[in-house]
Subunit: 462 residues, 2 copies
């Protein structure tokens, strides 16, 4: 891999310039006004695969945003790695909290990234990590050091729950045939503490609507006598957890696989500095389920969080309205073996049951995703462990990520292929937040590590 | 008053056309982008007083939106009536719920207004009712039947708590000298059931901000381990009332003057049809403080309502953000002798006390207003009673309105003048809501009744 690594070193600046170009396209999948930007981004990535040396690359239509597919088949008898990533990004709002515009990438230094980091929406999640793969591939092809076949499937709907990737996989099962799926959409513990995600939480996401009277009312004339849907919604949300922050939905924990005390002890070895954590977030205290550590709360325990709430008058000044409706977006992170459809149904049943007679409620399910576990003794995990050890100089720690990549469970179900989650971001990179960034160290470390994954996986697979 | 009434009949259509013109100016005081519209509205009203026969009329500056002042002094020895009203309106949102644009008035019939009603923001609250006064004045002057001196003070900040009217009154005490203040900014029970407000609730209005981490976080990575300010805000709001919908803020009820059982019995005679009430609002059940009737809940009991709430992602689709901040606008309607400053302070103290250590909270007081009682045996009340009996053909019922006109208490304090609340709207007129309207019956009944108030008040005052 020396020729490959040398090629990477020599082309560093160009790789970055190209990524900047990609980050400038606002590929926000949740917002229909960015439909054209989604197509432009897909075309950009498709062309980049051809330039990098793919045999073929194409933008493939779905019922939503398109999927970019590319491949290079050296020899059908060699192992095949399928790389999955996504080119869509989260909405950038609240815009006023960005210190530079979200779609005008710039390099800025931070305490954690003294060598500089790329500030832009999608820099880490996931355009920057997709670009590591495109460039690692280019380097291997250009150096004639590609040790196996490779396929790429880069979708445009991950941030909205990949509603069309299931059908896409079912329709193109043959095309997507591979030995392993390699995904870089997660992170490491720190730049000097590499880690690999051995598990991902699942997700159930709902939107709720609480309706009181059939119209907005004057709070002076009706206040006190008619249910206020905002007050009611707050009471209903408050009652979804008890004083121990245990979720109160009946049956919620029924399918949950409790970890053994050995497994919990192993997880307890993850380095964690509570004071540094609180300082980074600027909070006086943490908050979570009684009886579990922070690492456990974010890795092996399910959650219920309100991701958005709105109702009544939210403009400048004061308005004494008693609104007709109030809304919330609520997500639940799930762990094995909780099933998103079942949890969504339990939520809906309970939420409807606790609504007082003075209001009506609607629960609208959004996307869901199953939780995932990647066994640390599997071949695909081992190859990632070896690759990271090679480039970081130390063994990566297996972690349980709190995030969800719902499609991973689907890959196994539909395509019958295991995934490995070798990501290079940091938790502090402000994913989904204003000022998302991706360390230059991390970007280049990813490009450097990926070719070794190819090498070790091909060797182990023999 | 026959010549006056005849003049009104002959000019009905013109009065309405002029009101339409006034309603077309979007005088939203809460929104700074309507600053020029506020000035245009003030000028429109100022000119209308001059045309109607005022000796003088002027737009007077304040630190906020201007006040329109006008007067006609026949003889200093005659009684002087000061008419108060406001030309500003509530914000029209949510716009999508209006069946016709809020600033394009149209006449539509409703079940309650088969003769037609004027649909527009401000049609009832309070531009339409101000216009009744301008036109009644015009009719009396034109007919040479004005029995007393009259002054007008029409402000532009009622909907934002009249922050500059107190200073204005203090500065112009002499100019505003009068025997009584006549206000039409309330309503009657029904078009066949006239009533006069013998009391108004006061108001305390606060905006709260709950902050968790210093930035929006990925709910997968941090969810379950860090306080979510939306969940926390919901829990805090829920804890502001107990299961009986009694407000839990310590000291909240301390200054409240309980009504005697005789007074409650008298109030109990107010006609009220619960089934019709529920049907009109399209609700299955009412909700309010245990132990009190709907009339009591809206008239003699204090309330706590969330008028607006927002936080996190509220756009299209799903975003798994754990937001840094959540906000709510909360108002409390007050009854004698609760004092707004004291209640706001109690709220703030309690809200800060119940905040968990995992968040920080800020409480920002908006405007407040003292509750008001108008004795039914007072001269100013009697004159209104006689005027309404004359035009409705039956005795008006004294009611306690749930709404607040904070400035009424201030008038008494600063100017030493009692007010009388003779309004002509209906509770069902959608004040502060989409599709606000004002019955043509009510508009003309107001113009017809006001001259009699002048007549009877002048007679009683002699």
């Amino acid at each position: 891999m020396d020729v490959t690594q040398d090629y990477i070193l020599k082309n560093k600046q160009r790789f970055l310039d190209e990524l900047f170009e990609l980050l400038r396209i606002p590929s926000v999948s949740a917002d229909s006004k960015h439909k054209d930007d989604m197509v432009a981004t897909a075309n950009f990535i498709c062309n980049s695969f051809l330039k990098a040396g793919a045999d073929k690359a194409q933008v493939m239509q779905t019922d939503g945003h398109p999927v970019v597919y590319a491949e290079k088949i050296l020899d059908p008898s060699l192992p095949t790695i399928l790389v999955y990533g996504h080119y869509d990004v989260q909405p950038p709002d609240p815009l006023e909290l960005w210190t530079s515009p979200p779609f005008e990438p710039v390099i800025k230094t931070t305490d954690i990234h003294p060598e500089g980091a790329i500030f832009a929406r999608g820099s880490c999640d996931d355009k920057g990590q997709v670009w590591m793969h495109v460039k690692a591939f280019e380097a291997m092809v250009s150096s004639s050091e590609l040790p196996c076949n490779v396929k790429f499937m880069i979708e445009g709907e991950e941030e909205v729950g990949s509603p069309n990737l299931g059908p896409f996989c079912r329709q193109h099962k043959d095309l997507l045939k591979a030995d392993v799926i390699l995904v870089s959409d997660t992170g490491i513990i720190a730049n000097d503490t590499p880690s690999i995600d051995a598990g991902l939480r699942g997700l159930s996401y709902v939107e709720v609507e609480v309706t009181g009277a059939n119209r907005d009312l004057h709070s002076g004339i009706y206040g006190g006598a008619v249910a206020n849907p905002i007050n009611v919604l707050c009471e209903m949300i408050a009652s979804l957890k008890d004083a121990n922050k245990h979720i109160t939905i009946p049956g919620f924990y029924d399918d949950l696989l409790e970890l053994s005390s050995e497994e919990r002890a192993a997880l307890g070895k993850t380095p964690f500095d509570l004071e540094a954590y609180k300082q980074d977030l600027d909070i006086n205290d943490i908050e979570g389920e009684a009886g579990y550590t922070t690492i456990e709360r974010t890795g092996i325990r399910p959650t219920l969080d309100v991701n958005g709430i709105w109702g009544g008058y939210i403009g400048e000044g004061a308005k004494t309205v008693l609104p007709s409706k109030a809304y919330a977006k609520i997500s639940m992170r799930l762990v094995p073996h909780q099933r998103p459809e079942a949890i969504t149904a339990l939520f809906q049943k309970y939420f409807e049951a606790i609504a007082p007679a003075s209001v009506t409620v609607k629960v609208k399910p959004h996307h869901g995703g199953k939780p995932v576990v990647v066994p640390t003794n599997s071949l695909e995990y081992k190859a990632a462990e070896m690759a990271m050890k090679k480039t970081f100089g130390k063994d990566p720690i297996p972690t349980r990520s709190g995030g969800s990549i719902p499609i991973i469970a689907l890959f196994e179900e539909v395509l019958g292929i295991k995934s490995v989650l070798m990501g290079f971001g940091l938790d502090s990179d402000a994913l989904h937040s204003p000022n998302e960034h991706f360390g230059l160290f991390n970007f280049y470390k990813g490009i450097e590590t990926i070719p070794y994954y190819y090498q070790y996986y091909s060797q182990l697979k023999k």
